[in-house]
């Protein structure tokens, strides 16, 4: 059991590390906060690449054959590579590193009241492997033949045989990058799980753990338990590509459907892997800014576990029409619809948290509420796709695309900005500019809806995905389908909105720049009067995080407790004894 606790000399000792060289401080650090920043910066850089890709192929769709400023004329091969890598980057190199790795690294030790991860060196290794994977992926765009263009699902035989995909090097590098990335997150994930299980502050029982930590840990467990088959599949795919084995080649007795199962057995839980951390951030934010306890903490926890376990039973709903036995579709329809129950319950619980609260619409709160509202759209449109019969129509249309962007965008972008703006004072010690924050918020969320609502309409009209120009399809160039707009007008609308949204991201970078330039650290350790342990640490937390490692006396959401109100305050931090 825990014997040694705080050793002040140790902290002083750590203090000297501050004047180590640049490499030692920023690249070779084992400090969980620095590794979090490394993940965050890498993830944001990759987000810029992914966003640029989106800009290029949206321009091509809106104005087929146009010389896209900053890229040039888009060929079909380039178009395929752009959409493929946009998807891959946004999920594996943006959502995962930012939501799980960056926030997990930053928050877990702070929120459970300890000074670092349990395996700091493995943590550093995890980032280095991740960085390597990012480099491998980016390099795959520049090799001979260009980047891999077989969709992020990489269905063989297209992905396995270079005679079919015509990108012999690009596709292999793509698989290698993805496999390396999985290794990085396995290392990181086991670190997160172990830290949260083993290094909690004294007094912190299971039900005293902040939701953000719970969610990141459950997400890491889901990732760890689901990724295995895909790692196995990636190994087989690499052999198929390089040595021409026939794991997925029907001519050699293999089966392409096997890959689909290996992929989606991971691919569906992956949705929840990135969803859960975002939900965790939202829980922290809406409780803080409505000054209320999280409604039914235990119910949320049970629904998280329920969702997690159910998410392993639904994967084939991505394959309804992809060659699986039609009888299996019945089972997967039922399990998929079942998963709506815990998710709906979680939504209701979050919304119920607002009831009789005292809501302040700060920037992080706006992001958190936008997450709930937008994700709701993503959630309900998922029902259409999870039901086998309607999926015959919807499969591979823009409806699917709009649906999962309504889930992934709130998760990866809105969720990240919610977390980032909320914990920014803790990360840097300085408050962000609220006005710029709100401009950025509205400048992101309104265009976001203008991008993807038209795409729902296009999907409803039967437009398929991953087609680089619709000019050859008469049925997809109709006039006057919605409010006097033709289908091409809707595409142009979506593209325009995307450009506007990307432009508004500079407001965020301006805000970051202005904040970092501020001289004084004006945040204080607890700017929001919040309860969880990270607000005890100084902002920004130094090496070792806490001056004295805290002890926990209660749950993280004790806002507006009647006993405390009598004392004239509406929050009751976890670390205060009385």
């Amino acid at each position: 059991m825990a014997t040694a606790e705080v050793t002040h000399d140790a902290h002083d000792d750590h203090g000297h590390h501050a004047d180590a060289g640049f490499v030692k401080k920023y690249l070779w650090s084992t400090d969980h906060k620095m590794i979090a920043m490394q993940y965050l910066v890498t993830g944001m850089a990759m987000a810029l690449i992914g966003g640029f890709f989106a800009y290029v192929f949206r321009m091509q769709l809106a104005f087929p054959g146009v010389d896209v400023p900053g890229f040039g004329i888009v060929s079909p091969a380039e178009y395929n590579a752009l959409v493929t890598n946009h998807g891959t980057i946004m999920i594996f190199w943006v959502a995962m590193p930012v939501l799980i790795a960056a926030f997990g690294n930053f928050l877990i030790p702070l929120m459970i009241g300890c000074d670092d991860m349990v395996f700091p060196k493995i943590n550093r290794l995890s980032y280095q492997v991740f960085l390597l994977s990012a480099i491998v992926l980016v390099s795959s765009f520049f090799v001979q033949g260009g980047g891999f263009g077989g969709a992020w699902t990489a269905y063989p035989p297209l992905s396995a045989v270079s005679a079919y995909n015509l990108t012999p090097l690009g596709s292999t590098l793509w698989v290698v990058a993805v496999a390396l990335e999985f290794v990085a997150f396995l290392l990181g994930g086991i670190n997160f799980i172990t830290t949260a299980m083993n290094s909690r502050a004294p007094g912190m029982r299971l039900y005293d753990i902040p939701m953000a930590v719970w969610m990141i840990v459950v997400a890491s467990i889901l990732f760890m338990a689901s990724v295995g088959p895909l790692i196995a599949g990636a190994i087989m795919l690499i052999f198929d590509q390089t040595l021409h084995t026939g794991f997925f080649d029907p001519a050699k007795g293999g089966d392409p459907v096997l890959w689909q199962h290996l992929f989606w057995f991971f691919g569906h839980p992956e949705v929840y892997v990135v969803l859960l951390p975002a939900l965790g951030f939202v829980a922290e934010i809406i409780t803080t800014f409505s000054r209320k306890p999280l409604f039914a903490y235990r119910t949320v926890l049970y629904t998280v576990f329920g969702t997690g376990i159910l998410s392993f039973t639904v994967w084939a709903h991505h394959q309804f029409i992809s060659g699986i036995d039609p009888r299996m579709a019945h089972i997967f329809t039922i399990t998929t619809l079942l998963i709506s129950v815990p998710i709906a319950e979680m939504m209701f619980v979050y919304i119920a948290t607002l009831y009789r609260g005292s809501i302040t619409l700060t920037t992080p709160m706006l992001w958190a509420l936008a997450f709930l509202g937008e994700f709701l759209i993503g959630g309900v449109t998922g029902i259409f796709l999870g039901a086998s019969g309607p999926d015959i129509f919807y499969h591979d249309t823009y409806f699917v695309l709009a649906h999962f962007h309504y889930t992934f965008f709130p998760i990866a972008i809105i969720g990240s900005f919610a977390g980032l703006t909320y914990w920014w004072p803790k990360i840097t010690g300085k408050m962000m500019n609220e006005t710029l924050g709100k401009i950025h918020f509205w400048g992101t969320v309104i265009p976001f809806n203008l991008i993807f609502l038209p795409l729902f309409v296009l999907g409803q009209l039967g437009q398929h995905r991953r087609i680089y120009s619709y000019e050859g399809f008469g049925e997809l160039m109709r006039d006057d389908v919605l409010l006097g707009m033709g289908m091409q007008d809707l595409r142009i609308l979506a593209t325009t909105a995307l450009v506007v949204m990307l432009a508004f991201q500079f407001v965020f970078f301006l805000n970051v720049f202005l904040t970092l330039r501020k001289k004084e650290k004006d945040a204080g350790s607890n700017p929001y009067d919040a309860n969880s342990l990270e607000w005890l640490a100084p902002s920004p937390p130094g090496h070792g995080n806490f001056a004295e490692l805290p002890t926990v006396y209660r749950g993280p959401y004790e806002y507006s407790h009647p006993d405390r109100k009598a004392k004239g305050t509406d929050f009751w931090p976890q670390w205060e004894k009385e």
């Binding site: 063989p156 119910t299 129950v341 039901a387 019969g389 015959i392 129509f393």
Partner: protein
């Protein structure tokens, strides 16, 4: 759902299932969204009004959540039943009437090949008609398709029929359709199949029996040629 043509017998079934889901889901969506915005507006921070300490352990709100729980489950049951009924109709039953004909659909990079049974109504006979990117069928006649692929995965999708099925190499998948309206409809490939994925539009020509017979007659020469070249 009258946005796009429904030109097959089961297009309406698919649309009706979608419509049912739209109503059920739409109800929950607008209800939730309404409550959500109402709460945000109603409970904005006001000076002198404190938040209430509600942990959700109280009996009243708990009962409320359980209720919603049950209602969602009931909606799910309706959706599952509707979805499965459509699914069985489209994917798991084949027409067995004597006028049913079989066509072979083969995907390849980047075109669709079709093998029509020809005047005798039988596949693998000398009068088979092979075409590329043009499928000719008779209106109101049930067709069974045998779908396969020569190289990579493709997907045979006729939106106006609400028909979509992936073509998997090494696997022959059967299904059916019965067109109800004459006309030309678009076939899209709905599974990423390489560089030319965006460039393989094909057409299904739904013809009246007379038109179809005329087309068959015009093709018979070509069919003979194809046969000779075999």
């Amino acid at each position: 759902m009258d946005w796009i043509v429904h030109a097959s017998t089961y297009a309406d079934s698919v649309d009706n299932a979608i419509l049912l889901i739209t109503w059920l889901v739409g109800f929950w969506f607008f209800l939730t969204l309404g409550i959500f915005f109402w709460l945000i507006i109603r409970y904005r921070a006001k000076p002198g009004v404190d938040a209430q300490y509600l942990t959700g352990g109280e009996a009243q709100p708990k009962k409320f959540i359980t209720w919603i729980h049950m209602l969602v489950l009931v909606c799910d049951v309706f959706i599952v039943v509707a979805a499965i009924r459509v699914w069985v109709e489209v994917k798991q039953t084949l027409p067995e009437t004597p006028e049913t004909q079989t066509v072979r659909v083969i995907g390849q990079q980047w075109a669709w090949s079709f093998v029509h049974p020809g005047p005798d109504g039988q596949l693998d006979t000398p009068d088979d008609i092979k075409t590329v990117d043009d499928l000719h069928i008779e209106v109101d006649r049930p067709y069974i398709y045998e779908l396969t692929s020569r190289d990579v995965m493709h997907s045979f999708s006729v939106i106006s029929f609400r028909l979509k099925q992936d073509a998997v190499p090494g696997r022959v998948i059967t299904g059916w359709f019965q067109a109800t309206k004459a006309g030309d409809y678009m076939i899209q490939c709905a599974e990423m199949c390489g560089i030319g994925h965006g460039l393989m539009p094909a057409t299904v020509h739904v013809e009246t029996p007379e038109q179809h017979a005329a087309w068959q007659a015009s093709q018979s020469g070509g069919a003979m040629l194809a046969q000779a070249g075999r």
